[in-house]
Amino acid sequence: MSEVLDLAGKRLVICLGPGGVGKTTIGAAVALEAAVSGRAVDVMTIDPAPRLLDTLGLQIGPATPQEVPLTSLKARSGGRLRALRLDPKRMFDRLIERYAPSPAAREAILGDRIYRGLSNALAGVADYMAGELLLELHLEGAADLIVLDTPPASEAIDFLDAPRRMLELLSSRALGLLGASRDLARKPLGIFDFAARAVLAAFDRLSGVHLLPDVQAFVRRLEGMYAGFAERASQVQTLIREPTSVLILVATAEPQRVEQTREFVSSLDRLGLRPGGLIINRVMPPLPGFDEIQRTRLPAPLKHKLQRNLADFSALKARESAWLQTLKELTPDGVPMLVAEDLGSEPNTLRDLVRIARSLRAAG
């Protein structure tokens, strides 16, 4: 079995990669296989498109864990799988509920215009909330393996970086500037903070948003919750870096995906993170030879068609080989790699997913 998929002793798998490489499917397959082999697994997608639940045969539903029936798959005892989809808005509400110092404070926040806008704006908040949900599952302790699918491209790095950014925000002067208690502000207000205030005031006047008082009120309402937020953010950061956590990069041997994978590798490096493995997905299986066609007794026109078909696929294979080579070259030394063959069809059933997982194992 490939080192990439040796998940014994692992408790968290994070699948990263560009969009369209089959990350979601691989995450689901890995989770399902682990469940069938007797582990209690939670698989979670933070991709707003509910693709994963779809593949797992679950309807688009509330963002609570849904049990995936494994009865037809002869799972070993103890094996179970729950799938869930992140709803950032709901997650944010839950966070507020947890840390609000009083019911009145909680209601004030949940009804706040800025808060509603902030929690609805998916970018950034979604990444942070994914970390929250991950932490919640982790602390709940019901699963002995959590598999996390991430949104495509640069956003996946955003996810890994979200806790740090939240910590940075919480320790910055922004909060002091915008009206939180002065003891949170690490430094006294300087000229540029006044400038910032001036910008906000100018923005209000010109834009018609009348934002400044609202932002100040919002920040004041959040007071008393910062410590909780910061604590959670740093826990997520720690969790991602545990030795029992593994980041799996998924890629395909296509030009754009290869470029994006290169960016992923360097972003991970910048964050001081190291991928635990690279799965190159949907690689064409080996092609048969031309001589087999020649040896048959088929009519000549049909032979020509088969030869043409083989030539077509050979051209694609050549294109792919070049990109495969590039991918191998950009992978950091010592990162195990797994080349997964294209199985020719999209998974429609749980059995398909198990088949994908088994072929991944066989590939190693």
Partner: protein, 304 residues
């Protein structure tokens, strides 16, 4: 020419957004000054055209074709610089954490300013009788981007932003100025996501013009009776059947788009050992002939 002045190309990851955007830009450059722009600063479409963007994210491909890169962040910075004209202060602002927090508290502002930028680009293109092609982000991001304006109107009941929001809405709903091209491959999930997205564009966002591009449609080689004859040919049969399955998925997708009342262009699967400028030109010629057909019929292919 009947294509809108600005076409936004989007689709699921891996469906060939940049390829389609670059091919379309080649076609439009034959009819007027054309700008191909990406919003992610990766310069993918530029690389397909065989050029690299300079440090400002610009590049000229041909007399009539420029490639450029835009980023929401840069638009936001430009906006702040307009409001705070003292450069030294605005620059320090832009680097501070405070600023990051302010923008976080203004949800959708970056996206909105990006839309406003697209509107300006389309107007400029209309004035010189030219075109803009946007190599856009993935479908989900584009739908979020296009739905940001009502939120801004809500946030700013009057004033500059409110006026901008109304002009952005008007722009998005004008088939001569704005259109969305949704790329898909002959795969079940990709096609269904494209259909869902087209529904959202038309019914919820009131986008006047949206069409689908079905990318990578293979030419059918074997006839039905051929398959019966190659039973003993294991792997060759598998390859033939794989091709057949893709052809069938393409036909099925075509039917689904038809039933949904969505115009669709099929682009052929190109079986070549590399994909570069010559292959792009082939796809461009397919788009061009579709364009001619539509022009002869005298319809805007984007609006139905």
């Amino acid at each position: 020419m009947t294509l809108p002045h600005l076409s936004l190309v989007t689709g699921k990851g891996g469906t060939g957004k940049s390829t389609v955007a670059a091919a379309l830009a080649l076609v439009l450059a034959n009819h007027g000054e054309t700008v191909l722009a990406d919003l992610d600063q990766r310069g993918t479409a530029a690389r397909l055209l065989g050029v690299d963007l300079d440090t400002r994210g610009h590049c000229s491909v041909a007399a009539n074709l420029d490639v450029r890169s835009f980023s929401p962040r840069a638009e936001l910075e430009a906006f702040i610089e307009r409001i705070v004209p003292i450069k030294i202060i605005s620059r320090r602002m832009l680097r501070s954490h405070t600023f990051g927090y302010v923008t976080a508290a203004l949800p959708g502002l970056e996206a909105f300013l990006m839309l406003e930028r697209l509107r300006q680009l389309a107007d400029e293109a209309a004035n010189r009788n030219g075109f803009v092609v946007i190599d856009g982000p993935a479908t989900g991001t584009v739908l979020e981007l296009l739905s940001v304006s009502p939120g801004v109107r809500d946030l700013a009941p009057s004033g500059t932003l409110n006026r901008l929001a109304r002009s952005v809405d008007e722009f998005l709903q004008s088939p001569s100025r704005f259109g969305v091209l949704l790329t898909a491959r002959p795969e079940r999930l990709a096609v269904r996501e494209a259909l869902d997205a087209l529904g959202t564009l038309r019914d919820q966002l009131m986008i006047g013009s949206a069409m689908a591009i079905l990318n990578g449609v293979p030419e059918q080689l074997l006839s039905q009776s051929d398959y019966a004859k190659i039973h003993g040919l294991g792997d060759h049969r598998r390859l033939a059947l794989q091709r057949k399955a893709t052809c069938e998925l393409a036909a099925r997708a075509q039917g689904q788009f038809d039933r949904a009342g969505v115009e669709v262009i099929e682009l052929p699967m190109l079986y070549t050992p590399e994909f570069a400028r010559p292959q792009l030109e082939i796809l461009a010629s397919v788009l061009e002939s579709f364009q001619k057909e539509q022009a002869e019929k005298g319809v805007n292919p984007h609006s139905r």
